[in-house]
């Protein structure tokens, strides 16, 4: 069994009865290796459809948790349970719980670095005071507004006013949390939170794929929230210097906020400044200064014209890219595609009405970016398969679009792999209108293929 990954969280969903025999069968050696290699913030096991479990049944997954933590420092634990299951797990493991428990997957999302669930009012309660505090700190760090209920009576009273809160958290336990670097997005700036001692481990903790994807899709300002950094060694210094050099290729800016050099050699600051990194004392010094934001490149997602051109190798593989895209959309919408035209040109979108778009990057033996411009109607059809109903909710449509593009990326990866070409794919970015897409890719030359699905026009654009 493999986990389904969404928004940086991988979730296993076993069903039925979990005992010592069965749970081992859920996880083959290949599954363990594949899960450990995932670049995710969390690995969770959903108990939603588990009717019975015993300690031996959970132990097989806990062994997986240990392996995952050793390899990629992700947060691990169980989710989707009722109070009875929660209390049973607490009894099984008593004071030896080094994994997390999230009552629902939605609550788990609040503790992940996913930027989609931000600024939420969250009521939380735990009978353990240190847990209450730990949860509040994590939630605050992730950009939420936690409200602690110190007693069960107060929790009961406050939770009766459901409309006052976006989320209510109880029966949740934070074990050892992931040590990944949390990421959030504010406008067109990306903020990474770093803390404690920065050493060679920064290479494992920092999601370089996410960062590269962000650069590729047009983000130009990256802020490291370094208030909680105690010190930095030479390995971390080298890492940030290299990061700054690669950012410079995109004309992007990297800033450190709140970094003190009491326990870090002052010469490191000079080295970092030489690499192009800027230092600010307060986050608001940047975020509240529109002029500075504009200067640093965060006022828009405008893109520096890519000097790289589409090459023969990519054009040779073009049929595979198109096949993957067409097959996926045909599968998701149960419709037939007709190819209308294909040519090398700057992207040309004649009809921008009711169009949404998404881009996904790939890198490895070959690299580039695929852009798909959809009529909203196609995305809505895909929604019918993924969520089971038609929706007008734009956020949900874009979310579905991202999943669809992710599937396209996965299929491309498989098709290229069959040809001996190894690539990885980045996270998809979605655009709720064509103009914001054009801000990012205007001027880039690529291959444009116009397709039609049941008379809905659809555009595929492959660029670098």
């Amino acid at each position: 069994m493999r986990p389904v990954v969404k928004n940086g969280i991988g979730v296993f969903s076993p069903q039925g009865f979990l005992d010592g025999n069965s749970s081992r069968s859920f996880l083959s050696i290949d599954d363990l290796a594949a899960t450990s290699a995932l670049k995710v913030d969390m690995i969770l096991v959903s108990l939603k459809r588990v009717v019975f479990f015993n300690k031996n049944g959970l132990d097989a997954f806990i062994k997986l948790f240990v392996k995952v933590r050793q390899s990629n420092h992700a947060t691990v634990g169980f989710c989707d349970y009722d109070d009875k299951k929660y209390n049973t797990i607490k009894i099984f493991y008593k004071d030896d719980i080094n994994f997390s428990l999230f009552k629902t997957i939605e609550i788990a999302y609040l503790f992940s670095s996913s930027f989609k669930n931000q600024n939420k009012n969250i009521l939380l309660y735990s009978e353990d005071k240190s847990q209450r505090t730990a949860m509040a700190i994590e939630l605050h760090d992730n950009g939420h507004n936690p409200i602690i209920a110190p007693t069960p009576e107060e929790f009961k009273e406050k939770s009766s006013k459901k409309e006052a809160y976006d989320y209510i958290i109880d029966s949740t336990f934070l074990g050892q949390m992931g040590q990944k670097i949390a990421t959030r997005v504010t406008g067109n700036a990306i903020i990474y939170s770093i803390s404690s001692f920065l050493d060679a481990e920064i290479v494992n903790k920092f999601n370089i794929q996410y960062h590269n994807n962000s650069l590729n899709v047009g983000f130009r300002l990256f802020i490291f929230d370094a208030y909680k950094v105690i010190s930095m060694n030479v390995h971390a210094l080298n890492f940030f210097s290299k990061l700054a050099s690669s950012a410079a290729e995109y004309n992007a800016t990297i800033c450190f906020v709140g970094m003190t050099f009491e326990k870090t050699p002052e010469v490191f600051k000079e080295n970092l400044e030489d690499s192009g990194i800027l230092f600010y004392e307060q986050m608001d010094d940047i975020l509240q200064n529109k002029e500075l934001l504009s200067e640093l490149g965060a006022s828009s997602a405008s893109n520096v014209k890519s000097k790289r051109v589409i090459n023969k190798k990519i054009v040779t593989e073009l049929p595979r890219f198109i096949d993957a895209t067409v097959a996926t959309i045909e599968m998701m919408t149960n419709s037939q595609a007709v190819k209308q035209s294909a040519q090398v040109q700057n992207i040309d979108i004649t009809d921008k009405t009711d169009r949404i778009a998404s881009s996904i990057g790939y890198y490895g033996d070959i690299d580039g970016m695929i852009i798909l411009v959809f009529p909203k109607e196609i995305a809505k059809k895909a929604c019918e398969l993924l969520i089971g109903e038609r929706t007008e909710d734009m956020e949900m449509i874009l979310d579905t679009l991202a999943e669809l593009v992710n599937i396209v990326g996965g299929k491309i990866k498989t098709l290229l792999s069959d040809e001996g070409i190894s690539v990885n794919i980045t996270l998809p970015r979605t655009y709720d209108n064509v103009d914001s897409l054009l801000e990012v890719i205007e001027g880039r030359k690529g291959v444009q293929v116009d397709l039609s699905f049941n008379n809905d026009k659809f555009l595929f654009f492959l660029t670098r």
Partner: protein, 265 residues
């Protein structure tokens, strides 16, 4: 990916029940065990299947049983009818399994386990009805239908399932408006199975509760039994654990009773 036309074509291609089986079932229905066993012997594949099935450990016979009349005698009318229906279901199974890691032996194992435990459940519920006894035989047809419809779309389905935790029944229903258990119902009609069997199977999907209280209760027991078996290592490794969604709320009120009966601790 999969269209309604493809489903119709699949159902159309399902052959009617062979005459020897129809005759065997008619004689069993009339309580003519000896005559039924004689007709059953004329179908060599059925005779072989019967021997293989009843000699599985779960049937608990100390000595190997080889004679069809002896098998029918031991199983009785209801047990024999159930076994013949089990055989009919295997007629649908593929020569080679692709989507699920199954083979003829493991599939027969699943049939045997479901059948024996269903018998245990019906005894517990004090139900003595040969049609209800046989209803369990149609349940594994849901696995065969899934295999048949999705085996050529494994890569597509895997990609879809890597992005969203969707079971095969949901995918099929959203694409074509027809679920796996609807197809099972159509098979039962084609094979002229008693209507009660189709009703219990529909309820056992956990998605279409029956208004008939008795049928609905049996549907719950069957749904839970299915997932009890699909939680066994052999069937988890075959990829069956999540082929349909387990509706945990649906079985909530019978779980304790089930756990006590199956001695789950």
């Amino acid at each position: 990916m999969i269209t309604k036309d493809k489903i119709d074509e699949y159902i159309h291609k399902i052959p009617p029940a062979p005459q020897a089986l129809k005759d065997t079932l008619a004689l069993l229905n009339a309580g003519e065990l000896v005559k039924a066993s004689k007709v059953a012997q004329t179908d060599l594949a059925l005779a072989t299947y019967l021997k293989e099935l009843v000699n599985k450990p779960i049937y608990g016979f100390a000595k190997e049983v080889t004679d069809v009349s002896q098998i029918f005698g031991i199983l009785g009318v209801a047990g024999s009818q159930q076994t013949v229906y089990n055989y009919m279901t295997t007629l649908l199974s593929p020569g080679k399994w692709v989507l699920f890691k199954l083979n003829a032996r493991t599939f027969h194992e699943l049939q045997a386990k479901l059948s024996k435990r269903w018998e245990q459940i019906l005894e517990h519920l004090s139900i003595d009805d040969k049609n209800i006894f046989s209803s369990i035989t149609l349940l594994p047809a849901s696995i065969i239908v899934t295999e048949a419809l999705f085996c050529e779309k494994i890569d597509d389905v895997n990609l879809l399932r890597s992005a969203k935790n969707l079971d095969y029944n949901t995918i099929l229903t959203r694409l074509c408006g027809v679920g796996i258990f609807d197809i099972c119902e159509q098979i039962s009609v084609k094979w002229e199975m008693p209507q009660e069997i189709a009703q219990i199977i529909q309820a056992s999907s956990g998605l279409k509760p029956s208004k008939d209280e008795k049928i609905n209760s049996l549907g719950k027991w069957m749904h839970l039994l299915l997932f009890y078996e699909l939680s066994q290592p052999m069937f988890i490794e075959a990829g069956l654990n999540d082929f349909i969604d387990f509706q945990i709320e649906y079985v909530g009120d019978i779980y304790e009773d089930f756990a006590a009966l199956m001695e789950i601790t």
